[in-house]
Subunit: 381 residues, 4 copies
C-alpha cells in the first residue's frame, strides 16, 4: 500500500487483549481502506519466547521481543500498545512516552489514581498521541446511543443505570492469581470487578452522561480465601467480588451501578439504560447489535420501545461491514477503535478516551473503593 | 340496577367455554357499568343434572335445565348462548332462532358449510341478534391492530401470516373422543385443528385483511389410531392433527397459515403478522398485552419494531380496567365481546362477527379441507 | 350457597384499590368454589354519598356507608378492608381491631413505623385475623419463584435486585395532592416512591430472601415545586420522586433496589432478580405470566435462561383458571390473596403478609428514608 | 508459516461475496492456527481492472486477473472460488474442474437443475475437492442445532418451518438488473427469492431434517414492471418477489417455507424452527448467537424455552474466538466454512455441502418453481 503512511506498532502482552488488539490492526487494511495510515505490525513482546514467537507468527508481526524495554528502544516503532496486566501499565506507558512513542493502553488505565496521574503527566509532557481501549464505546449500538443523546432527543436526564454481571468465579475451587487468573489478584489487578468491569460502565457513563460528582458504594468478597496459584497456599482474597454504587452526575441525574462475578446465568451481561424527559435508551452486550429506544413523542396509541437492529449503513461504523440485518461481534469494537486512532493521526484530534479521559474513570473507581471502605459518600475531586 | 334493561341469558354447555362466557356475563356489571343492558343469568343447561346444578350455583345462574329444548321454550329468556360441542350448534341455534331468541354461539359456527348455511338462514329469517365468539378479536392488542390497519398506516398489504401451535396431543396414549376430549373426535368436532384453531386465525385474518379468494392446503394426522373413550376400542383417527395452507386475499396479498397440536413447546401460540408497504404488525397470544409495530416512516437511524404494551386508557377497552402497565388476561376478550353484544342491542348495529361473518370463515375452513383432500387449489365461492 | 360460611365484608375507599379488592371478592364464588368461606359484600364506605352509592351498586355491595366509624359499629360485618389513602390506615385499622373485626389493609401498612407499630399491637391484642395486600406475592410466576427458592434449587444466595420504574409524574404541570393524586402528597402518602413502589419490592424481597440488615440510600425530588390541588398554590414537593438503596440481607447476599416515577418508557416495570450459587430467577411485571429461570445444572452446551410461561395447572393458582398457554392479569393477584385469606380462616393459619410481616417492610422503608436523609448506612432494628 | 501446506486460491468476483470469502481466508491464520493448510491468496479476478486491482490490494491478494479463463490456466493456483453472479457459476466451475482445480462456489450452485447437474458431473469426474458456500450451517448456534438433533434429543420430528424475510425491494422505483442489482434480473439470478433466500432455508433444512419428498408452492411478483438498468427501459419483472411452499420430508414431518423481499421491518430475518416429539429448536439470524431450545424432559413446573447464548468454548467453533458471553457476527460463518474446507483437505473427507449436496437443494428449488407455475404438488425426483 504504497501511498499509505505507516503506523509501526509494538504490542506488549500476548493474552486475551493482545489477541483483540492484534486482530484489530490486521483488519484495518480490509475494512478501512480509506484511511491515510495503515498499521504495520513491527513486533510483539512477551517474556516467554516460545509463546511470543508463535503469537507473532499467528498475528503477522514481523518480529518479536522478550523484553519490553528493548521494544521501546527500537527506532522502527511508532506506537506502543500495552496489553499486559494492570500492574505494569504505568511503568511501561511512562517509559514509552518518555521515549517519544505514542501509547495505547488496555483499560483500566492503571491500578489506582496515583499511577494514572503519572501516566497522564507523562503522555501530556511528551505530547504523544494516546488512547485507552475502552472498546465498548465503539459498539455501533453504543455509538448510536451517543449520537441520539447528543442530538438532544432525551431532554433533561433523570437516571442512568448500568450493570456488568458475570458468573465465572462462583466456584470456591477456582484459584486466585497466576496464569490466566491475574484478574483475581488484587496486587496485580488493583481491584476486582471495580477496575475490571465497572470501569467499562463508568467510562461509557461519563461519555454519555457527563461527570460523576460523588459516589456511595458497597463491595463484597463472597469467597474470602482461595488457593493462590503462584504460592500454592490458601490466601485471603484481596479483590472485590461484587460492587454496587449509586451516585450523582453533574447534570443532576441519579446513577446506579452494579457489577459482580457471582450472577449465575450471566456470562458478560453489560447493560446500561438512560432515562430522559422525552426519551430513553437501553443496551445489552449479549445482544450487542440492538439498541432499545423509547420516544415519548411517538403517537400515544402506538408508542413502545423500539428494538433497533443497528446494522444499516447510516448507523455508526456499519457502512464498513456487510448489508442490513447482518450483525457483527464483540471484536469489531476494537477494530473501530484502531480505525479511529489511525484517523486521529490524520486529523490531529485526540482519540477518545485519552489517558486524561480515562483518568476521570480512574478517579471514580478509586472513590468507589474508598466509599465502600468508609461506608460513606465520597466526592470525586 | 333499576334503570338497566335486562338481557336474560340461557346458556347451554358447562365446559371450558361455558365458564368463559359465564365469567364474561358476571363481569359486565363491574367493568361496563355504562351499558344500558345488563345480562341476567336466568338458566344454565346441561344434560348432567348434578353438574349443571353446581355450575349454576358457581356462576350465579338463577336456575338450571337439563334439556336444551325446554330452555328454548322458556318465556323468561331472551338469548341462548351455545357452548356445547360443535355437532350440536346447528340444531340448537336454528331452534333458538325459530323460537325468536337471540343466539350467541361458540366458534366455529358449525361443523361444515352446510350446517352453517342453515344457521345463517335461520337467524336472518328470524331477524334475531346473533354473534359468534371469535374472542381473539377483542384482545386489546388485536383490536389496536385493527385500528392501525383501518387508519391506513400499513398502505398496500403484501403478506399475512398466522399460526396456532399447540402440543397437547403428542402422546399416542391420549384417547380420542369422550369426556373433555370431543375435539379429538371428527364426528363431533367436524375437523381437527382446522375448525378448532385455524378458524380463529381465519376469522382474525378476514377481519384485518379482507376476504380470502383461494387456498392450497395440506393436512396430516400424525397418530393414525387412538383408543376411543366411548367405545373403548382403538379406532382410526378422523381429525387433522396439523394443517398448513397458503392463499390469496382479495386485496392481492399472500396468506400463510399453519396450525398443529404437535409443536412441542407451544401451549397455545397463536401469532399473526401483517406486512404492508409502509408498516407491519405482529402479535402473539403468549404475550397478549403487547403489539409489535414497525413504522417505516420513523427516522431511519432510530427505526425499529416497537413493543407496544397495550395497557393505556386510550387503547381499545383498556379504559375499563386498571392503570397503565397492568396487563389483563385471556378471559377479558370474552368480557369485551359480551359488552359489545350488549352495546349492539343499544345501537341496533350487529355485533361482529355475526353468523354471516362467521359463515365466510366456515367456507374457508371447508375449502382448506377440500384442498388438502384433493391436493389442489380451491376457490372460495 | 347454603353450606358456605360467610365472611361479611365492609370495605372503605372506592378508588383504584377499592375496585381491585371488590373485584377479588366477587370472583371467589366463580373461581374458588371449594373454599369453606364465601365473602359477602355487606357494605362499601366512602365520604361522597353519590359516589359510594354507585360504587356499591357496581360491585354488588348490599349497602353503603359514608362514615367509616359507623361501618365498624355494624354487627353484620366480620372484616374491615381498608382501601383509603395511607394517612387513614392506622386510625381505621386500630378502631376496627378494637371493635373485634378482622382487618385487611391495602399496602403500605402505614405512613411510618410509629403508626405501623400501633397497628400491629392493635390486631395482636385483639387477636383478629389480619393481612396486608402486598398483592404481587400472588402473581403465579412470583409464587413459583418462592417455590423454587424454597426447594433449595438456588443454593447460597449472592444477589437480589429489584426495581419499580414508572414515568407518570415527569410533567412539571402535574399537580400534587388532591383527587386521584394523593400519592403525590407527602402528608397523606407518608413518602413518595419508597412507600408506594419500593414497599412492594421490599415485601417480595423479604418473603423470597429473608430479612434485610442494613441499608444505604439516596432519594431525589426532581420537580421541587408543584401546584397543590387542594390549596391551589405552588408548594414545595415533599415526596421522594426516586429512591435507590443497596443493602445486606441476613443471609449474606447483597441487595440493590431502585424506584422512580421518572423512567421514561416504563409504565409499571416491577422487576426482580435473584442470583444463587446454582440457579437464578428473574421476573417482570410487564410480562407477568413469565418467569425466567437459569439452572446451572443443565447440560452445559444447551444451558440457557428458561422462559417459563406460568399457565399450567401444576403451577401456583393456575388450576383455578383456564388451560395451558392462556395468561391471566394483574387483578388476579388480588383474587388469589382474597382466596388465601378465606382459606386461612379455615386452617387457622395466618394469611401472610400479616401486619407483623408488613411491619418489617415498614421498618426497612423508614430506614431507607433515614439513610437517604443522613447519607449513611442505617441498620434495621 | 514454514510448516504449513499452502492452498493457493484464485477468487473470481469482487462484490459482496468476494468480500466475505476474502475475509474468511485472511482470518484463518489468526483464528485457526492449528490447521495443516493455510490459504494463500494468489489472485483475485474481475472484469474491471481498476476495481479488481483495488480489491486485490485491500484483501491481500498477490496479483489480479481480468479474465477468469486466464486465472484457471495459471499453474500457481489450486482452488477456484466463484463469487460471481449465478449465470456464470456453471461455466466457470466446469472449466475449473476440467483444469483440475478445486472449486468453491457461492450459493446457489446454479440457476437451475440442468446447470447444476453438469457442475456435479464435472467435479465428480475430475475428482476435485468442492464445496458450496451455504454459510449459515456454520453459524455456531445452527451447528449446535445440528448436534442436538443428531444426538436424538428431539425424537420423531413433526414439523420444520423456516422463513427468510427481507424488505429491500418494496419501492417500485428500484430498478432491476445491472450494477449491484443482478439479483433482480431473472436471466442472471435464475430466480428471485427462491434461489437467493429459500435456497439457504432448504439447505439448512435438508442438513438438519433430511430429504424433501414433494412440494406445493405459490410465488408472487408484487411489482410487475421495473426499469432495467442495463436497457434503461421499463420491463416486465421476471423474478419471484415472494415464495411460499409446504412439503413433506422423507422422515414424515411437514415442512413450511416462506421467503419474500416485501416484509416491511425485516432486513434479513432468516428463522427456522423444528418440533420433535421430545424437544424443539428455534433460531433467528437477527440474534444469531442465540439458540432457543425447549426440552420436554425438564421438570414440568420449571419447563420453558431456553435461550442459549452460544458463546462458550464447548459450543461449535467458539473455542476459536473470545470468552463466554462475547458474540460473533455474520462473517464468521464464512471463516468457519473456509476452515472446514481446509480441514477437509487434511482428512480427505468432503466438505459439506458439496456440489452433490447442493444439487439436492437445487432440485427442491426447481420443483418449488414448477409447483408454483402449475399450481400443483411436485415430487422431487
Amino acid at each position: 500500500m504504497a501511498n499509505k503512511k505507516e503506523l509501526r506498532i509494538g504490542l506488549i502482552g500476548c493474552g486475551f487483549m493482545g489477541r483483540t488488539h492484534s486482530n484489530a490492526y490486521n483488519r484495518i487494511r480490509n475494512f478501512f481502506p480509506e484511511l491515510a495510515y495503515i498499521p504495520v505490525l513491527k513486533a510483539a513482546c512477551a517474556r516467554n519466547e516460545e509463546r511470543v514467537k508463535a503469537f507473532a507468527e499467528q498475528w503477522n508481526y514481523e518480529s518479536y521481543e522478550t523484553d519490553w524495554k528493548k521494544l521501546i528502544e527500537r527506532d522502527d516503532i511508532d506506537a506502543i500498545d500495552i496489553c499486559t496486566p494492570n500492574d505494569t501499565h504505568a511503568e511501561i506507558a511512562i517509559a514509552a512516552a518518555q521515549a517519544g512513542k505514542m501509547v495505547l493502553t488496555e483499560k483500566p488505565l492503571a491500578r489506582n489514581v496515583e499511577e494514572a496521574r503519572k501516566m497522564v503527566d507523562a503522555v501530556e509532557k511528551a505530547k504523544v498521541a494516546n488512547t485507552v481501549w475502552y472498546n465498548y464505546r465503539r459498539i455501533p449500538a453504543v455509538s448510536l446511543a451517543k449520537q441520539i443523546i447528543d442530538s438532544g432527543k432525551l431532554g433533561k436526564i433523570f437516571h442512568y443505570r448500568a450493570n456488568f454481571l458475570q458468573d465465572w468465579t462462583i466456584s470456591a475451587d477456582l484459584p486466585q492469581g497466576g496464569e490466566g487468573l491475574w484478574r483475581m489478584d488484587a496486587n496485580v489487578a488493583g481491584s476486582g470487578v471495580t477496575g475490571d468491569l465497572l470501569a467499562h460502565c463508568i467510562d461509557t457513563a461519563i461519555w454519555l452522561n457527563g461527570s460523576i460528582k460523588d459516589v456511595n458504594a458497597v463491595t463484597e468478597t463472597f469467597v474470602k480465601e482461595r488457593m493462590h496459584q503462584l504460592t500454592g497456599k490458601v490466601e485471603k482474597v484481596g479483590i472485590d467480588d461484587a460492587c454496587i454504587f449509586h451516585c450523582h452526575f453533574a447534570n443532576g441525574s441519579l446513577g446506579l451501578f452494579e457489577s459482580t462475578r457471582y450472577a449465575r446465568g450471566h456470562k458478560a451481561l453489560y447493560t446500561f439504560e438512560i432515562n430522559g424527559e422525552h426519551a430513553s435508551i437501553k443496551w445489552d452486550l449479549h445482544d450487542l447489535n440492538r439498541l432499545e429506544y423509547f420516544d415519548h413523542s411517538d403517537e400515544s396509541r402506538v408508542r413502545g420501545w423500539r428494538s433497533i437492529h443497528v446494522t444499516d449503513g447510516d448507523q455508526p461504523y456499519m457502512d464498513h461491514w456487510w448489508v442490513p440485518g447482518l450483525g457483527i461481534g464483540y471484536e469489531h469494537s476494537f477494530i473501530h477503535q484502531a480505525a479511529d486512532f489511525l484517523k486521529s493521526l490524520e486529523t490531529g484530534e485526540p482519540c477518545s478516551p485519552t489517558f486524561r479521559d480515562a483518568f476521570e474513570t480512574q478517579q471514580v473507581c478509586e472513590a468507589v473503593l474508598e466509599s465502600a471502605a468508609s461506608g460513606s459518600w465520597k466526592e470525586i475531586e
